[in-house]
Amino acid sequence: MMATDEPGLSAAEQKAGTALRMALRDPETEARVTLRARTWLAGPSARRGSRVRWILPAAAALVVVAVAGALLGLRYGSSGGALVPTDSPTPIPSLPGTPGHFDNGEFSFDYPMDWPVLAYRVPESCGVIYLLAAFGTGGWELGTNQPQANGGVLCGLDSVTVPSGGIVVRIYWRGGGPAPMCESPAPTANETFGSAEALKMVNGDVTTWEFRWPDGQFFWSDDPIFEVHTSDAAQLAKAEAMVASFRWGAQAPTSGGLCSPTPAS
């Protein structure tokens, strides 16, 4: 068990082993690491932990625990969820009827209850993409990762099929990647919902809204992205209403002012 029990070692080597064992003890950090493990959540907090850990106080993990009890997840049942109060009116009509409501503490949004859930919480494309949910009246299929002869892996992308008059919505974020870069000038939002700033892009029948962190920039990993596939105007209007209900929550991610101008000293 102990280093001093290692057979075939000199006294000095055994002593080195003992010293090494003691040197590698770090109760404070070990406690923090264990706490973080215990409070594991596969949501954005955990995923981006490696990137923003230098700005997150250890207490944040405790906050996550408190929030965990309130984690809702998308509701599959027929009963509708309550609408969240919005912090400012939006120019887009609300969803008809009683929409479902998603809130993970970091962000929230409403969604139509008549769109079947096609997928929920799926790491895909070798983990580069984390699909929070796909729903709508079309189809969704997980991509297949294919091992290559050279030992690499061809990461499969998921695919959607949209029937005439139908819609598929993917809500996802890009995972991992390098630390965020501060672009100057930063890309600017072209739509704002409450205090949430979005970059809307249209490519044929695919419309995307990317939400930047409250103090972040667009195109960072972990930005929530709503990707809407439809050519139907009524369906698109419902999707727009869903997107318009997006709000950052109390646990919204922060870069700690990474890209803020450094105040003069």
């Binding site: 000199s10 010293a19 590698l24």
Partner: protein, 180 residues
């Protein structure tokens, strides 16, 4: 019990995954610390390894191999980091005065912070692979077969690497007296 947790985690049960992580986090941290030699970096490595494990646990077919699989991810992450930044934190700016003058041949290696720094500094004289085997054996307190499993190397290789590494560490610490 662990098998059940792995099965549950594989199907997306985050609570089960948390329990698996909790069991391994501290010892994995210690193993990784030997490789990267910075508590901050080691903490980051463990976190990155946890994220990677979550993303890929669906591909873990053998439930009994969870611990070895997770440690291997962490060690590889640490080796990768050590390779990228081999000597970034050789001596902390907070290191005690006089540390850079030598490795303290007369120090008692069981004494406090100074010697901890000495040991971490001495590890810098070893290859990352040697640090990994030492970290798994003396940091994570793994038996040699488990060290081999975590590194994905044969048992004999692990044994010889372990002896070689500890043999190299002792003189780095200024404690080698040639006795056997």
């Amino acid at each position: 019990m662990e098998r059940e947790l792995v099965v549950a985690a594989r199907s997306g049960d985050e609570a089960a995954f948390a329990r698996l992580l909790e069991r391994e986090a501290a010892r994995t941290f210690r193993a990784v610390l030997a490789v990267v030699r910075s508590p901050e970096d080691a903490e980051e490595v463990v976190q990155d390894a946890s994220v990677s494990a979550w993303r890929h646990i669906s591909g873990l077919r053998d439930e009994d191999r969870w611990a070895a699989w997770y440690r291997r991810i962490a060690v590889h992450e640490a080796l990768d980091r050590a390779g990228r930044r081999p000597r970034l934190r050789e001596i902390s700016i907070d290191a005690p005065a006089g540390l850079a003058d030598g490795v303290g041949a007369t120090r008692d290696p069981t004494d406090g912070w100074d010697d901890r720094m000495v040991v971490l500094q001495a590890l810098g004289g070893l290859s990352a692979d040697d640090r990994a085997v030492l970290g798994l054996r003396f940091g994570a307190d793994l038996e040699v077969p488990d060290v081999a499993a975590a590194l994905g190397i044969p048992l004999g290789t692990a044994k010889s690497r372990l002896h070689r590494a500890i043999g190299r560490l002792a003189p780095e610490m200024g404690e080698h007296d040639g006795d056997r």
